[in-house]
């Protein structure tokens, strides 16, 4: 990239304060905001955020501060506990809200929030000039606004999953929590835009539906309007040989030869083998006709080769191709190591684990030092006593009442 600035700059959201009451649905948005330099305060139920109970766990052993997933999503954030659904929490919410430029929520029947007016979609205690971002599975209005989802259920209902899987097998949900992560990225885009226009417009409410984010992709509405009911069904992949996945001596690799010139590149990669010298094969329609026999021929040609070497040769010849890697192989790959895509990250369990780093980079850099995700209630005293000016006695009383 361009010029490197050794000193770095203040991050985009330096000085912006975020209060997050949304739990698992707002976790990725909170992570992105923290990576942009915002001071993110997670307020979780006294029993702990749901992600604290989500695997993977350090050394595979469950425990309050052992979830690596929580350590990942909540790195660099501070954490307090608060039973935010109780009317008794209103005073404290008001005091916390008075400090917050951005409030993240995901109100639901299971996760009630004092001061939340579900009909109006407003919060009684947030500042008028705050950005109130509600990330919910289905949005704040509509007949299914109270429906519950998980990332898997979100993806299932989006219309995307119906196409994904083997032709004779079940639809397949993507690994991880991607449908919700993606909604988090959209939410932060909306929050940043709202902050951009804040002086002109004031505060506003973001009603972000995971369902709408997911259904907006891959031309679902557009396709139905001209094609009707699914014509594609579940398809294992698009294209025809040499596009496909092949087994090399040391593992699988794939070719995506979607342009005419890629056939030549492919032949160059393989050193123009006699088996593929038939001139009519330059026509993609011919290759489509000969799908099975060509796939088998190519498989034979590459079965004793090294995939790393083939990828190098292919890329040099202008062919989009890649190794098909497991997560561990990806993490070890020389390119990923050289880029530092995974970075040592402290965990609340006093360890340090290599975790994915910032999802994007910038020059000049404005990197935020990564701190461990909070232990349960770690910043209660710092926030309630130090910042809000309450006494130790009050804090103790609230703890006794189960409020914090």
């Amino acid at each position: 990239m361009g010029r490197l600035d050794a000193e770095g700059e203040a991050p985009a959201l330096a000085g912006v304060r975020v209060l997050d009451l949304g739990g698992a649905l707002t976790a990725y948005a909170a992570r992105l905001l923290a990576d942009l330099g915002a001071d993110v305060l997670l307020a979780e139920p006294p029993g702990g955020d749901r992600l604290r109970r989500s695997p993977p766990f350090a050394a595979g052993v469950e425990g309050t501060d052992a979830s690596l997933l929580f350590a990942y999503y909540r790195a660099t954030q501070r954490g307090i506990t608060l039973a935010a659904g109780r009317p008794a929490a209103l005073d404290l919410l008001g005091q916390l809200g008075a400090m917050a430029d951005v409030v993240l929520v995901s109100p639901s029947r299971r996760q009630p929030l004092a001061g939340w007016d579900a009909e109006a979609g407003t919060l009684s205690w947030s500042r008028p000039d705050a950005v109130l971002a509600a990330i919910t599975p289905f949005g704040l209005t509509g007949p299914m606004r109270d429906w519950r989802a998980t990332p898997m259920v979100s993806y299932a209902m989006s219309g995307l999953m119906h196409r994904v899987g083997a032709a004779d097998g079940p639809p397949l949900a993507p690994p991880g929590r991607q449908a919700w992560d993606e909604a988090g990225a959209y939410a932060v885009l909306g929050i940043l835009a709202a902050l951009w226009s804040r002086e002109r417009v004031g505060g506003q409410v973001l009603d972000l539906s995971v369902h709408e984010v997911q259904s907006s992709k891959d031309w679902l509405v557009e396709r139905y309007a001209v094609e009707g009911m699914d014509q594609w069904g579940r398809v294992a992949g698009v294209g025809y040989p040499p596009t496909g996945v092949y087994q090399c001596a040391d593992g699988p690799f794939d070719v995506a030869a979607h342009q005419l010139a890629h056939w030549d590149s492919f032949l160059t990669m393989l050193g123009h083998p006699d088996e593929l010298s038939e001139p009519s094969l330059t026509d993609p329609m011919v290759r489509r006709e000969l799908f099975d026999v060509l796939h088998e021929t190519i498989q034979q040609l590459v079965s004793q080769r090294s995939r790393g070497e083939l990828v190098e040769l292919g890329q040099r010849a202008g062919l989009p191709c890649a190794m098909l890697l497991s997560p561990a192989e990806f993490a070890r790959d020389e390119h990923i190591v050289a880029r530092g895509t995974l970075v040592p990250t402290p965990t609340p369990g006093d360890g340090t684990v290599a975790m994915p780093g910032p999802a994007h980079r910038a020059v000049p850099e404005a990197l935020v030092p990564r701190r461990a995700a909070p232990r349960l209630g770690e910043h209660n005293r710092e926030v309630y006593v130090g910042e809000l000016g309450h006494t130790e006695d009050e804090l103790e009383r609230w703890a006794g009442e189960g409020l914090v």
Binding site: M144, T150, W196, R223, D230, D254, H335
Partner: protein
Amino acid sequence: MRALSDAALEGVRVLSFGAFAAGNTTAALLAELGAEVAKIEGRSRPEVLRMPAYAIGPVMATEPSGVTNTIMEAALARGTFGLSLDMASDAGRQLLWRLVAVADVVVENFGAGVMERWGCSFDELLERNPRLVMTSLSGYGRSGPRSSYLAYASNISNFVGLTHTWGYCHGTHSDYLTAAHAAMATVAALHRARATGRGVHVEAAQVDVMAAVLAEPLLEAVANGHDPGAYANEMPGALLSGVFPCLGHDAWLALELEDLDDWHALCQVLERPDLDTGDAAAAEAARAELRDAVAAWAAARTHHTAAHLLQQAGLAAGPVQSIEDVWRDPQHRSRGYVVELDQPDLGRRPYPRAPIRLSATPARARRAGPRLGEHTDQLLRTWLDLDDDELAELHRCGAVFQAR
């Protein structure tokens, strides 16, 4: 041509070379938030997705200039204006430099070296506009041994471990995730440039973005040394998850139980108190039996009925929706999810509504993607104050093209 005053990014000018799903979507997300986005295409180098191979259904259009267009491209370039420059000519490049001087953002996702060959590296563009935000999308990023690699989203899916854990190689999945992060990072960089008066080069690499949203399988592999393999709808941490065939053709119910309360609720719906064990270890042991019970129950119902009954019991369940289900989806319909947008050659067609619903500055596309060069003269007049003579000279030397 001026953005409406209820737009968050009103007054922000974007020059976009963004192509394919990732580059187009980045620009469209900014346009929906109210930025004035010029989509740059060469008269002899039109966007690839305009080509007949990318037509959806039988619908194609041919513009008066002879360039073709598809619904796919019209959807992806929604909200942008068409600017046609010949970047192969000196006059075209000089015109771009003048536009950069009055723009806020440049978006590009060319292969490595293209912008540099045009004298349009970040450092060179910064000389024209010291506050410029430039956003570069790529598969592998601009550093590391594989930085020059060509990649489609399917290659990325294979390389990052997504195919390995999904059991499926997706052709666009990482494009959308990367675009959402790139647009988000672009607005974050605008905040920085406004604060410091100095430009920022944003890098959104698909490998970094995908690592960020694949934290769960990566942490399992890297920290615990365990290959999660293909998830096959078994979501980590769930007491039970999966899809179940229902009445009708290719109709499936998706269901995920997050805790023992869910387990209990499901046993009640299924009228199987014998399986309602009350502790996690016993649930683990009874999982196969409960799965069989769900399968038998679901097989006797439609996927919609099954989902409604389970949601009434407070469970996270949903139909695996086909595109027809999505089209009819009562939640989408009640929120006005399908919108109609005009396009000069493709006509008025349905598209998904922009999901970023901000109360005061809602994201929305005013139009589908433009004709190639549809707004060239208009943009040059408003951005650069060019008069008739100057425009005529640019047309005479072939530096620009205006669609008629």
